[in-house]
């Protein structure tokens, strides 16, 4: 199925959890914040959050800034 991750279209297996998605893209999930369809999903809810086709996920993190 296709989702939008950080503005890019991505094909992922059906029934992928948010936790699995995060694990795929970063080694340090603890510093990532996730938004699913514009709503923040807290870290403890990631494993039980199953992504649906066409959803939009944002994974963000801290970077240097002024």
């Amino acid at each position: 199925m296709q989702i939008t991750l950080n503005g890019q279209p991505k094909d992922i297996p059906n029934n992928t959890s948010l936790a699995a998605l995060v694990d795929q893209y970063t080694k340090e999930p603890t510093r990532v914040v996730a938004e699913l369809d514009s709503a923040i999903v807290t870290r403890d809810a990631w494993s039980r959050t199953i992504l649906k086709p066409g959803c939009t996920v944002e994974l963000v993190t801290f970077v240097g800034g002024g």
Partner: protein, 257 residues
């Protein structure tokens, strides 16, 4: 013990120098700079993770106990700023946010009106809000009402190193507003930071000048010293300028009279 401490939202800080963490050539320089200058508040930004490669974790380079002040850079409206602030809070590193709403890619000037709106919303949600603005008395008054914890007027354009080009208008804020005034943006030399403090600013935030210097930790420390010096200058009662000369040696007892 130093009793003249920076106080924001009821918290005290042992340094009046705030450091931005962007643009450092390497993260080792960043960490060394924070330690060298003793900053107790540093700004960070929030960005999408890079899907192609592993990002460095900026937080590893920020010493324990330093307050993270997340900016909302990238926001072009109050709504976007609010969304970034909420994400930052969800990351679990506190609720301090520097509102930065910019719709001007050339001078990077802040949109005061949107900034006020974002401040209202986020203050009401319990954030500690430090809005970055063009120095304007009416905006500052509205920020006070909106619950801002401090006001951060710009000295000049972000990253320009042009110094205190808004001198008179920052001074108005210092004199008329009860919140701490933290001069942000454009401060490119320790002397400029020092002058801001002599005017009565509560603190100064610098990023670009330090990050792109030949020796960032050395310059970070220099800024920190200059900020202390300026603060002491302000507190010690600096004398006014005079248009003529006035002898510093006695005008009596000359040998040749």
């Amino acid at each position: 013990m130093n009793t003249d401490q920076l106080e924001i939202a009821g918290q005290k800080f042992s340094s009046r120098f705030l450091l931005g963490t962007g643009k450092f050539r390497n993260k080792g320089d960043l960490k060394a700079s924070i330690i060298a200058c003793g900053a107790r508040i540093v700004t960070v930004a929030l960005r999408r993770i890079d899907l192609e490669r592993h990002d460095e974790n900026i937080l590893e380079y920020i010493p324990e106990g330093v307050t993270l002040l997340t900016n909302t850079s990238g926001a072009r409206t109050a709504v976007e700023a609010v969304r970034i602030a909420r994400l930052a809070k969800a990351a679990g590193h506190g609720n301090w946010v520097k509102i930065e709403v910019i719709n001007d890619s050339k001078y990077l000037l802040p949109d005061n009106e949107e900034t006020v709106k974002a401040t209202e919303i986020l203050s009401a949600e319990g954030f500690i809000v430090l809005p970055y603005v063009s120095p304007d008395l009416y905006i500052a008054r509205r920020l006070v009402k909106a619950g801002a914890a401090a006001v951060m007027p710009l000295g000049s354009f972000i990253g320009s190193n042009m110094g205190l080009r808004t001198r008179e208008f920052i001074k108005v804020l210092i004199d008329e507003i009860t919140l701490p005034v933290i001069v942000d943006a454009g401060i490119g030399a320790p002397s400029q930071a020092c002058e801001a403090m002599e005017l009565g600013a509560a603190a100064v935030l610098v990023n670009t000048a330090v990050a792109i210097a030949d020796n960032p930790p050395m310059l970070a420390k220099a800024f920190s010293q200059a900020v202390e010096a300026g603060r002491a200058g302000f507190l010690s009662g600096l004398p006014a300028k005079r248009p003529q000369g006035e002898a510093s040696s006695p005008l009596t007892g000359f040998l040749f009279e």
